[in-house]
């Protein structure tokens, strides 16, 4: 039943849909038609697969984290190494797919929003690869936090447009990208970085990212001869999580946990846990759980990880939560930073602060699981970009 979602107009139960201004509606319908055709076209699939393997470096390893497993003393932990993709995160899976589609549709320019800068870098990379013009919208606060990625985007030939509205983070960057798209829709393709936005984006991004789960499924069957008991992934908008979860949705024995950012704590205003602490609302083209005040004004999200700093969540996650198929929890900044350090020291793998949220949850939950259980953590990105943030947070503590 779950796999028949969404309906024709992009609804996952009451979630999702296409809540967009009329100027964009024709472009969204055009995109849907183009995507449907591409999805059925063997040559598109072949081309996408070619670039995923030959360019992005797939497949990524499913690595058994022996020392972490030993330390925690519970379930056997595997890491799906999306950090080993070209550009350093899972984001490249989606941007290659969307930029290939943009090219197929005859668009010459691409735009994108970015939080941590990972999606911006991945979009700028795909745009450079195919010789397309690229403009990235990024909140000023994120530009400050992620200066390294801003530099990478510029090197790749992208124009980075700072956004100073609101809290100058991901939500505001997305607002500005949508405004730009309203004005440039005739020749521009908007590359959305997560499983949110108006239909067909949530479905399209999920499909492009589900290579993560398909590989992990094949790899675990080969290594263990059976399916995992638990999947763990961080959730901001939710693209890496859905990429891992989706190919396992029809396997009832596989539990899945999405980890939201509890920031400074759910009892403060400084968090990004839209499923855990939000209400149903409409933002950026879809109906989903939103952080909002009692008047329906969207609240600013906060997370130490810029990529989780978003007040909404992809509508399919909202649906998986509402139906109980997946479980959603949250971990604080402090727990994420601890996990960031722990994984670095125990496995020699420095996770992105976003992915460190998933690691943190595994550190909480794995010890309580039997030793014959298997958990897969989606290590969605690498942590080099976060060195400065970690240094700052340690200074604060000292």
């Amino acid at each position: 039943m779950i796999r028949t979602q969404p309906d024709r107009r992009g609804h996952f139960g009451i979630f999702g849909g296409r809540y967009a201004a009329e100027t964009l509606m024709p472009a969204l319908l055009e995109l849907e038609t183009a995507y449907r055709a591409a999805r059925r076209d063997a040559s598109f699939k072949k081309e996408f697969s070619f670039y995923l393997h030959e360019y992005a470096g797939r497949e990524t390893p499913l690595y058994e984290a022996r020392r972490l497993t030993e330390t925690l003393g519970g379930a056997k932990i595997y890491l799906k190494r999306e950090d080993m993709n070209h550009t350093g995160s899972h984001k490249i899976n989606n941007t290659l797919g969307q930029v290939l589609l943009a090219r197929r549709m005859g668009k010459k320019k691409v735009i994108a929003e970015t939080g941590a800068g990972q999606h911006g870098v991945a979009t700028a990379t795909a745009a450079a690869l195919f010789g397309m013009e690229c403009r990235i919208f990024m909140g000023e606060e994120d530009i400050r936090r992620q200066a390294h990625n801003v530099f990478r985007m510029k090197i790749l030939g992208a124009e980075v447009t700072p956004v100073d509205a609101g809290t100058a983070t991901l939500k505001d960057a997305m607002n500005e990208a949508m405004r730009d798209w309203v004005s440039s829709v005739r020749d521009t393709f908007y590359v959305i970085g997560t499983t949110a936005g108006p239909h067909p984006y949530p479905v399209m991004v999920r499909d492009f990212q589900s290579v993560i789960g398909r590989e992990a499924r094949r790899q675990i069957l080969k290594k263990e001869g059976r399916l995992p008991d638990l999947l763990i992934a961080c959730v901001g908008g939710g693209s890496n999580a859905l990429g891992l979860f989706y190919p396992f949705l029809a396997d009832p024995a596989v539990a899945m946990t999405g980890v939201e950012a509890a920031g400074k704590g759910l009892d403060t205003a400084l968090h990004a846990a839209s499923i855990t602490a939000g209400r149903v609302g409409v933002l950026h083209g879809n109906k989903t759980y939103l952080l909002q005040d009692e008047h329906g004004q969207v609240r600013d999200a906060y997370a130490i990880a810029a990529g989780l700093d978003y007040p909404g969540v992809g509508p399919e996650h909202a649906w998986l939560h509402a139906t109980g198929r997946a479980r959603y929890v949250s971990v604080t900044d402090e727990e994420a930073v601890e996990a960031f350090v722990a994984l670095s020291r125990q496995e020699g793998i420095t996770p992105a602060l976003e992915s460190a949220h998933a690691v943190a949850w595994a550190m909480k939950t794995a010890p309580a699981m039997a030793k014959d259980k298997i958990a897969i953590i989606n290590l969605s990105g690498r942590g080099d970009k976060d060195a400065e943030t970690i240094a700052e947070s340690r200074e604060e503590k000292e």
Binding site: G17, E22, M25, L29, R179, V185, V282, H284, L290, Q297
Partner: protein
């Protein structure tokens, strides 16, 4: 027939065009908005669009974004805006359209909103991010309450889609004259002429043009091509500049008066009976 249609019809009989003005409710504060609306009506505005501020106005340019932020900071809420409308309605017959985004309405409760908006004297609503495909969840309450559901047609809307949208449109049709957000580019008269002519062949409803008209000259150029024009960002910019100064109401009414005169002067049959 509701106040909106009546106003268009009455003006048409006089050979005149409808002047729709938009302002963001609560900027600089709701008391001022309540004083501005009757003053604008006296200066020649025929229909007032009351903008309900939203934290993330993705279809609006910088002017209305800033006004929305100011209004929210000063505590404007949908409930207070409805209360202001109800008190305005006791002394004014001006058609009122609430203009905004869906989330504040969804949060308020669509059914409660429909009942209270109608009771407060609201005549129509325009919800920017609620296209016809998603509109039933609100229209199932607002249609029976007698609220017109104003629909947008964009330059990117193809004729097949336009026909589909127009089948269920009520009140008037709002033609977005530029491919862009509010208040950022000026419409081109030639494009507007052909697009509006095309729309008029598809619907008996009045067609108003908006999204880029900011000067009396532009108003004069566009008004003759349609049944009415909408001026938003230019008025909102002026309100933003004047803020809480005593000069605000006179400046806003003087600007509205200029637009009114430009529209009337540009429409030759004006005044004939």
């Amino acid at each position: 027939m509701g106040r909106i249609e009546e106003r268009f019809t009455a003006l048409k009989k006089e050979g005149r065009k409808t002047f729709v003005a938009y302002l963001t409710a609560g900027d600089p504060d709701l008391e001022t908005t309540a004083r501005l609306i009757p003053a604008l009506e006296a200066a020649g505005v025929d229909i007032i669009e009351i903008g309900v501020p939203f934290s993330d106005p993705t279809a609006d340019g910088p002017v209305i974004q800033a006004a929305s932020q100011r209004a929210l900071k000063r505590g404007a809420t949908l409930a207070k805006i409805l209360a202001m409308t109800a008190s305005l309605r006791r002394t004014s017959g001006i058609p009122i359209v609430l203009f905004g985004y869906y989330n504040p309405i969804l949060s308020y409760g669509p059914e409660k909103f429909a009942g209270e908006a109608a009771a407060s004297g609201v005549d129509g609503i325009l919800v920017v991010d609620l296209p016809p495909e998603e509109a039933d969840e609100l229209r199932c309450y607002t249609d029976p309450a007698g609220l017109a559901f104003i629909t947008l047609i964009a330059p990117t809307t193809d004729p097949v889609r336009a026909r589909k949208i127009l089948r269920r449109a009520t009140g008037f049709v709002y033609y977005i004259s530029v491919t862009g957000v509010t208040g950022t580019a000026a419409p081109r008269a030639d494009d507007v002429r052909s697009d509006v002519e095309r729309l008029k062949r598809m619907t008996a409803l009045p067609v108003a043009v908006g999204f880029g008209i900011s000067t009396p000259g532009q108003a004069a150029a566009i008004a003759p091509l349609s049944d009415g024009i909408v001026v938003g960002s230019a008025l909102v910019r002026l309100i933003g500049e004047k803020g809480t100064s005593d000069d605000l109401v006179p400046a806003a009414t003087s600007f509205a008066g200029e637009i009114r005169r430009a529209i009337d002067a540009a429409c030759p049959s004006q005044g004939k009976k």
